[in-house]
Amino acid sequence: MNASRYNGAGRRRDPGFIRRTWAMIVKEFVQMRRDRMTFATMLIVPIMQLVLFGYAINTDPKHLPAVVLVRDSGPLTRAVLASLKNTDYFEFKQEVHDPEEMDKMIRSGAVQFAIEIPASFERDVRRGNRPSILVIADATDPVATGSAISALEGIIDSALKRELRGPDEAVTKSVAPFEVRLQRRYNPEGITQYNIVPGLLGVVLTMTMMMFTALAVTREIERGTMESLLAMPIRPVEIMIGKIAPFVLVGFVQMTIILGAAHLLFGVPILGSVPLLIALATLFAAANLAIGYTFSTVATNQLQAVQMTFFFFLPNILLSGFMFPYRGMPLWAQAIGEVLPLTHFLRIVRGITLKGSGFGDMQIDVLALTLFMVAAMALALFRFRKTLD
């Protein structure tokens, strides 16, 4: 009869290493092609990121916002300001008449530099009294201000040389006719760790918090527990809060450890209010948890959720001002940076630790974080499927 059709092993031969491996390779390719998200990951995303970050990142930032306090209004003053502007390093946002206002602008991060030209500056120069121009730099990030500072002195010098001709020329020939007093605020010694370590608090929180919740919903779906859960009398908002809340506590513990270590190991000062910092870091953690949760309602499996987290994480690191100076990026990249929660948290955490900023200095950033959280939660609830349709 036809029993010989089924005598199996007798008809087969050992396929050998290459054939078996090839079988595996073929299967992997088929699966790869089926998962469109992974396919996109491999082709489109790297190109996009290369272009995005390639054009955005610049370690020699120009056009840094500056404020001037002008107490003298002679032509020499104007020449000084003009040549400062010509360096391309400074962009004068505003002219103020009150030192208090100038301080406030630099503390809130509205400007990176504040330049004060003293009263009777011009007269003192001409008389050889060597007046001094005060330049205050927000040195929180030493990299961001470094090149602007080094460009400073020579340029003012040359401006004066152009202006002081004729009888006054003798003044320039001797010692420099004036002084530039540079005041590096917030991080006078230019210690990189002071900038990086508080930033790391934000980076670590972003990464871990998002990872936790990005798997929250997809895991239930993949394990099949979602079907039971949906059949139970529990509402989506209750599921969401229930899934986020435990990790807020985890975030709280995490940030306490990082802050303690930053202070003890790296000697990072905490000038502002510790409770305020903790409260805002908790808000930041909650915002990231909400974003992660949103990813998990969009992703169809856990791998996708992890990929999404990663794609969100990368611009957060590169465009937020953590690794590279924020002001050094072109405006479009700064605009992207504005819609990343880490950007706002970095301003908050650096502000509180290094500048001693209070709530009033960073209302916008607090508002932005709150908006991120609320928007992410609303989107997650909108995306959450109450049924299996």
Binding site: R223, T225, S228, A231, M232, P233, I234, T387, L388, D389
Partner: protein
């Protein structure tokens, strides 16, 4: 008149343009064990999911426990215990933790004590701390049922609850189901097992999304108007192939050392059997009763002719 627990009319559901359930009308009286039968992919799970609000029907309407299935899913969920086909409790939680979670979500007073009670009822005292994922198939199924009945639902929807469970565990499971029904709980249970179908008060058979037969097991057999002959002997396979080709024989199914030969038209079947008997000689032929399985396989074949 008996109170009705499930009363749906004209339920239809399609996925990607393919109708999975078509115009399904179903009435299940309170306190009854209602068996839901049908081949794989016939729309049983989809129907159950529509009943408990996990899927929205494309058309049709109805009530479940008196609540509208389209608008009052939240209320239905409070009073329905749904046991999914695939184990869907948390494998990384212990038995006790799973039960406590369920108790809390349903707002059972004193969830801790409710869980202890359920553990006791399930006979799982010694294993309360064991992870649900480590249990064997039979125990997982018991735990899942235990979790379903913990919040004291009025209706149980059980989707192939005994798939892959050994006969002893299945028997105990059905004893429990009958006890629950005696307490007034309505049970809708889908299954592939014929012995289980016979344990139900009433059956519905669906294939390709359509309801093909309903009633008690006896009714369903009688309605089919099927007649059966049983052939015993050796080397039945070639005979089965030969019988298949004869007119008047609708179905030939091997059952161990027997062959069930059935036809819808009794006279045509008898004629075909008489002819076959004459040609054969080495087998024993006797008249038999069609089993529920014979009826269902026939129904399925007919349905396939119509829809596939």
């Amino acid at each position: 008149m008996k109170e009705i627990a499930i009363d749906v009319d004209g339920l239809t559901k399609s996925f990607g343009g393919r109708a999975v359930v078509k115009d399904l009308t179903l009435k299940v009286p309170k306190g009854e064990i209602f068996g839901f039968l049908g081949p794989n992919g016939s729309g049983k799970t989809t129907t159950i999911r529509m009943l408990c609000g996990l899927l929205t029907p494309d058309s049709g309407h109805g009530t479940c426990l008196g609540y509208d299935i389209l608008t009052e899913a939240d209320k239905i969920k409070r009073d329905v215990g749904y046991m999914t086909q695939r184990f869907s409790l948390y494998t990384d939680l212990s038995i006790r933790e799973n039960l406590e979670f369920v108790a809390r979500v349903y707002g059972v007073p004193k969830p801790r004590e409710a869980a202890t009670e359920a553990i006791h009822r399930l006979g799982l005292e010694g294993r309360a701390g064991q992870l649900a994922g480590e249990l064997s198939g039979g125990w997982k199924q018991r735990l899942a049922l235990g979790a379903c009945i913990l919040p004291s639902p009025r209706l149980l929807l059980l989707d192939e609850p005994t798939a892959g469970v050994d006969p002893k565990a299945r028997r105990e499971f059905w004893e429990e189901i009958h006890r629950l029904a005696a307490d007034g709980i309505t049970v809708l249970v889908s299954t592939h097992y014929m012995d289980e179908a016979e344990r139900c008060h009433e059956l519905a058979y669906i294939a390709f999304g359509e309801l093909l037969a309903r009633g008690t097991a006896h009714d369903v057999v009688a309605q089919s108007r099927l007649s059966t002959w049983i052939v015993t002997g050796s080397d039945l396979q070639p005979l089965a192939e030969e019988l298949h080709r004869r007119d008047g024989i609708d179905m030939v199914a091997p059952f161990g050392n027997e062959l069930h030969v059935s036809g819808r038209d009794k006279r045509a079947l008898d004629k075909a059997i008489a002819a076959a008997k004459k040609a054969d000689g080495s087998h024993r032929w006797k008249r038999g009763e069609p089993s529920l399985e014979d009826v269902f396989i026939l129904l399925m074949d007919q349905a396939k002719d119509n829809f596939a």
